[in-house]
């Protein structure tokens, strides 16, 4: 879209998330967009980023993206593979994770995440997969990067169920958790961060070509916008090339 390089909103989201990782950081990664972003970082500016998947693969360097959290590729390219109890106790809970990635079906203005149910727990409208590793990633990782597509049904004033805590139902803060919680929420429209005082998520950057009103319209609460609202740098041609290469390799490998 810019300078003749065309890219999709998902690519913008992935590239933005990748840029948030610094070289050498230890990342707890889930499947899907987080895995794409973390591996893009590893293949571009952060070659020494350490990727941990909850299946127990530590320091893994997959050549193609995993389709599941336990693909053989993850084990075969890992520095070490540990048991699932160990990955949660000696590695996540011990505070060894710099950055945890999370997604959700719903997020509220205080960064609380719902992956459990839409509707009432006992009689759900939609039963979602559940907690998985998320509650303890949310509490134990030094910081959490949330990635999800910016849609009004996902950005709700109050989540139906707090699976993983951000800053609490009333924005009361981190309640003694060791990690800093969701320091950034990256969407396909822009970037949100919690206000240091109120803990309420506000728009701090929009992606090129996106209108602030669009972000407001897709947010279920009255979205605050930072005074110094930034505009994300569009993906470089290198970022795009590496990402597309990775996805093409992945596609080829998984359809084989």
């Amino acid at each position: 879209m810019v300078e003749g390089v065309s890219y999709t909103a998902d690519e913008m989201m992935t590239v933005t998330a990748a840029r948030h990782l610094r070289d050498g950081q230890v990342c707890f990664v889930g499947i899907g967009l987080p895995s794409e972003a973390a591996n893009l970082a590893r293949l571009t500016h952060a070659p020494n980023v350490v990727l941990i998947y909850e299946s127990g693969t530590i320091g893994t360097t997959p050549d193609v993206l995993p389709l599941s959290i336990g693909d053989g590729e993850l084990a075969e390219t890992a520095d070490m593979v540990v048991s699932v109890p160990e990955v949660f106790s000696y590695w996540l809970q011990a505070g060894r994770i710099d950055v945890g990635f999370l997604s959700a079906a719903q997020i509220d203005r205080f960064g609380n995440l719902n992956t459990t149910v839409i509707g009432r727990y006992d009689q759900p409208d939609v039963r979602l997969p559940g907690a998985g590793g998320a509650p303890e990633i949310a509490s134990s990782a030094r910081e959490v990067i949330v990635m999800l597509r910016h849609r009004r049904r996902a950005f709700v004033p109050e989540v139906d169920f707090v699976t993983s805590v951000g800053f609490g139902r009333r924005g009361e803060g981190r309640g003694g958790h060791r990690g800093a919680g969701p320091t950034v929420v990256i969407t396909d429209l822009g970037v949100l961060q919690p206000d240091p005082q109120t803990h309420m998520l506000r728009l701090v950057a929009i992606h090129p070509g996106v209108d602030v009103e669009q972000a407001r319209a897709e947010t279920g609460w009255e979205l605050e916008v930072a005074d110094d609202l930034g505009v994300t740098e569009p993906p470089t041609s290198e970022e795009l090339a590496v990402l597309r290469d990775l996805k093409a390799r992945t596609e080829a490998a998984h359809s084989a």
């Binding site: 959290i69 070490m80 907690a131 590793g133 805590v165």
Partner: protein
């Protein structure tokens, strides 16, 4: 103490109706063959336990084998929902499914406590999550620092079933690659059934992360080559990603699902029959179309 037997006999003898069964596997080494055998023998009122109930639990739940599910993440990995699981929870179809829901860290802690002979395990977790109001978890205080941590009850399945790459002729079981929580699930259980790709003279222990269950911790071993399909057995088979994608379509419609289970499981003598059928991609359209 491990007896060599067939999967049919192991399930018939060791999995009575009403017991709690963990069929563990973290994407890798999922004991699909055992799950099919449970369906084929029409087991009832089971409490199914698993951190990551996936397609095989979707099949068991869809066929009404389960009364209760103890779990932490129920989805079709990399694809989306488990439709039979959702139907049971959202609509009570084909029967209501009681849930006992935890986080992964909580389930792993529960299995480890079970394997350790402790009544409970502790972790930093659950705090601030609404799970607290819907599951069995307690806060306890550190007697030395006063800090609060979460306590969860030990998990000791009546039966744990896993799939492994190898067993030797003494009945020692070897598995490697992503080993998940299988060792804890086995050591926590009263009865342990293991299906294996192969019986070997000596376990292949070259390479890191080789995990063993000594023969005296295993109840029954049944060779079932390919027994983890559509999951995989590192060194023996690849994950059938296409199957997981197709499952979304098969499981969405209760009638399609039923036809699929009849053709691929109930009408088959054993897992070998299923494996021959999934080779034939035309068969699927015929079954689902019919």
């Amino acid at each position: 103490m491990a007896e060599f037997t067939t999967l049919r006999e192991a399930v018939a003898d060791l999995v009575p109706d009403g017991v709690s069964v963990a069929m563990e596997g973290f994407t890798h080494l999922i004991p699909f063959a055992a799950g099919h055998e449970v369906i084929r023998q029409e087991k009832k009122d089971l409490t199914l336990i698993r951190m990551t109930p996936d397609v095989i639990y979707d099949q068991l739940i869809g066929m009404g084998c389960a009364r209760k599910l103890v779990f932490s993440w129920g989805g079709n990995p990399g694809v989306g929902s488990l439709h039979r699981f959702r139907d049971a929870v959202e609509n009570g179809y084909p029967r209501p499914l009681e849930l006992e829901e935890h986080s992964h860290a909580g389930m792993a802690t529960r299995y480890a406590a079970g394997a350790s002979g402790l009544p409970f395990g502790i972790l930093r977790g659950y705090k601030g999550s609404d799970l607290v109001q819907h599951t069995t978890v307690a806060q306890i205080e550190c007697p030395f620092t006063g800090e609060e941590v979460a306590a969860v009850p030990a998990l000791n399945p009546d039966v744990t079933i896993i799939h492994a790459q190898q067993a030797d002729r003494s009945g020692n079981v070897g598995l490697w690659g992503i080993t998940g929580v299988q060792r804890e699930a086995a050591l926590a259980a009263t009865t342990v059934i293991v299906t294996v790709e192969e019986i070997v003279d000596e376990l292949d222990r070259n390479g890191p992360n080789h995990v063993m269950l000594p023969h005296w911790t295993v109840t029954a071993i049944a060779p079932v080559p390919g027994g983890s399909h559509p999951s995989y057995s590192l060194g023996y088979s690849k994950r059938d990603n296409r199957f997981y994608t197709e499952w979304d379509r098969i499981s969405r419609d209760p009638d399609l699902f039923r036809r699929w289970v009849e053709a691929y499981i109930l009408d088959q003598e054993d897992f070998g029959g299923y494996l021959r059928m999934v080779q034939d991609s035309a068969a699927l359209e015929e079954v689902l179309g019919g």
